[in-house]
């Protein structure tokens, strides 16, 4: 990639991407991780992200979009700062995941793939997240919360609201 100053990513992430394309026998293997890490920093796959990733890998923007559209974690629209992903698949469903999901909807006033007006939270009903024996489980961004009941919901939300305030004031 051209000098870091031309990158839309932070210097740390740009340096990480410079290394990432060297990591594999074939450069293109860096594509999926690069998209996910870019999304972690920018919030979603904006046109600028797609353009820079295409440039770094040496493929067309269309090819990048074609691959990105396949993966459920990658998105082309912004989500909330904390994306709440409630698993409702069988093991979680049997232990009350839908009650947990409904409580999140009530507390936040949003539905599937909705974003709160302040941009702090988004909500998603997701497929199995690999926490079946600790069900019902959710992920907030990458953090797992296990063995939940609807009563845990307000506490989880206020915890992340507090975090958002601290991070926002920086």
């Amino acid at each position: 990639m051209s000098p870091e100053t031309m990158s839309i990513f932070s210097p740390a992430l740009a340096a990480r991407f410079d290394a990432l394309v060297q990591k594999y026998p074939v450069k293109r293997s860096a594509l999926v991780p690069m998209l996910l890490y870019a999304q972690d920093e920018i919030g979603y796959l904006s046109d600028a992200v797609v353009a820079e990733v295409a440039d770094r890998i040496g493929i067309t923007e269309l090819e990048v979009r074609n691959v990105a559209s396949y993966y459920s974690m990658l998105r082309f629209k912004p989500a909330g700062r904390y994306n709440i992903q409630v698993c409702t698949n069988i093991s979680c469903m049997l232990r009350g995941a839908y009650d947990v999901y409904e409580r999140f909807q009530e507390e936040l006033g949003i539905g599937h793939k909705g974003v709160t007006a302040d941009g702090v939270f988004s909500l998603e009903e997701v497929e199995c997240i690999g926490a079946c024996c600790w069900a019902p489980a959710i992920q907030v961004n990458y953090d797992f919360h296990d063995e939940l009941s609807p009563d845990h919901v307000p506490g989880i939300l206020s915890g992340y609201r507090g975090k958002a305030r601290v991070e926002g004031s920086r």
């Binding site: 990591k23 594999y24 026998p25 074939v26 293109r28 293997s29 860096a30 594509l31 999926v32 991780p33 998209l35 996910l36 890998i57 074609n66 691959v67 396949y70 993966y71 459920s72 974690m73 990658l74 409702t88 698949n89 069988i90 093991s91 469903m93 049997l94 232990r95 839908y98 497929e127 199995c128 997240i129 690999g130 926490a131 079946c132 024996c133 600790w134 069900a135 992920q139 990458y142 953090d143 797992f144 296990d146 063995e147």
Partner: protein
């Protein structure tokens, strides 16, 4: 942090180091770690494959293919580089065992990868984790970095003059990528669409080179097999089903968790003794024995059922990924079938028409049916549609959707019939809003 459980019937081999701090390299070495890899350098590839064959280890991802045999299919001479690929895209509903392996014993996966590499003559191994497992990827990446620092990975591992590199990779959300050819596509930076077979990955795999693909649990068992000896490992299990398995008990069970039990262990005992029985003292209605793609079993079908690939196969289901989902007598099986098929409809990659259209139609039919808009003819149509998906797709996702659906209709036909005539779901749990005809 996922809770660890324990039961006296467990035989702890793969889980031996869980909760002991073995994610730190010093502790792992203190607990005998990397000794198996060193032993393999002294003994050589043929000895490794013989031990693996003797162990009776069969693939823990779900298919149950003998691991030693899989390794022996890789050609000795190859113009293209050979690879080991560890499948940690754990996504089968009901399955969370690899989650614990990466969390508590990442070095066992690295050591198993080194041994597999030695056995087939590969210089590079990949460890692929699903995108949701970011915190586990960070643990694995720390472990890999520590192994490089110690010289257990790199240009001259254990001072043997042999090179072996391990490369970690993250997915970004896709059940289909758990299928081995889709996994290779994803690792090559493409959509995770299955490849036609043959050629099999052992001959033409990742980047066109011969590739061995093993589940993370399979690979984590390898160092233990080398340490204890293949025959001793085989002795723990049942005939043709070597060793132990990490069974994940979930759903309506009193003590859910991942338990390591010998292959062939009684399913009834697993539910009623190890797991403490059905939650709240309720009655058992059904059990999904090996992840959501495996056909459901009735209480009478598990009476004398040992949990190994052959016995569960004979009972008309599959051992699959070892995810045992327990269902109590207050569950609506139409709703359960609908939730199962909704997952496969969401995850179908769309490459093969029978799977793409079939899962979508099954979801639509079951949604309508559960809401009370079903017709009597729908019941046979659902079964007919599912039966015609079987064996007609490149990868097993089509079968994974069809097989459980067929079993739900066959074994719970009465519950389907009870949903007819526009009535709201007669099996709905108390307090859950009813879908009604408008």
């Amino acid at each position: 942090m996922p809770r660890l459980v324990s039961h006296p019937d467990e035989v702890k081999i793969v889980t031996r180091r869980f909760g002991m701090g073995a994610e730190k390299i010093d502790r792992y070495v203190e607990l005998g770690g990397y000794e198996a890899a060193k032993k393999c350098f002294a003994q050589g590839p043929e000895w490794i494959i013989d031990e693996m064959k003797a162990s009776g280890l069969r693939g823990r991802g779900g298919a149950g293919f003998p691991t030693g045999m899989k390794w022996s299919f890789v050609p000795k001479q190859s113009a293209k580089p050979k690879y080991v690929l560890v499948n940690g895209d754990e996504s089968e509903p009901g399955t969370c065992k690899d989650h614990l392996i990466f969390l508590h014993d990442p070095h066992a996966v690295i050591e198993g990868t080194i041994i597999a590499g030695l056995a087939i003559g590969a210089k590079v191994g990949f460890i692929y984790l699903r995108g949701e497992y970011r915190y586990l990827l960070e643990i694995v990446e720390r472990a890999v970095a520590d192994a490089y620092e110690r010289g257990f990975l790199g240009k001259n591992i254990f001072g043997s003059g042999t090179e072996f590199q391990v490369i970690t990779q993250t997915g970004a959300g896709a059940y289909e990528v758990g299928e081995e050819s889709a996994l290779m596509e994803s690792l090559e930076g493409k959509r995770g669409i299955p490849r036609i077979k043959p050629p099999f990955p052992a001959v033409v795999g990742l980047y066109g080179g011969p590739t061995v693909i093993n589940n993370a649990e399979t690979i984590a068992a390898v160092p233990h097999i080398i340490a204890m000896g293949g025959a001793a490992y085989a002795g723990v299990g049942s005939p043709r089903n070597g060793g132990t398995r990490l069974f994940g008990l979930s759903g309506h069970i009193e003590r859910p968790g991942v338990y390591e039990l010998p292959m062939g262990y009684s399913l009834k005992k697993m539910i009623f003794e190890v797991g403490g029985g059905v939650r709240g003292g309720r009655k058992l209605k059904a059990v999904v024995p090996g992840g959501s793609s495996t056909p459901v079993l009735l209480p009478e079908e598990i009476e004398n059922l040992g949990m190994d690939f052959d016995q569960v196969g004979k009972a008309g289901s599959m051992l699959g990924s070892g995810g045992v989902v327990v269902i109590d007598d207050q569950t609506c099986m139409v709703e359960f079938a609908l939730r199962t098929i909704s997952f496969y409809a969401h995850e179908s990659c769309g490459w093969c028409i029978p799977c793409r259209e079939g899962t979508d139609w099954l979801k639509k039919s079951l949604t309508r049916f559960h809401a009370g808009f079903g017709a009597a003819s729908d019941i046979d149509n659902i079964q007919y549609l599912a039966e015609n998906m079987l064996g007609r797709t490149f990868c097993p996702l089509g079968d994974a959707a069809a097989m459980p659906t067929i079993a739900f209709v066959k074994k719970f036909r009465k519950e389907f019939e009870d949903h007819l005539n526009g009535k709201p779901c007669p099996y709905a749990r108390e307090g859950v809003p009813q879908l009604t005809v408008v």
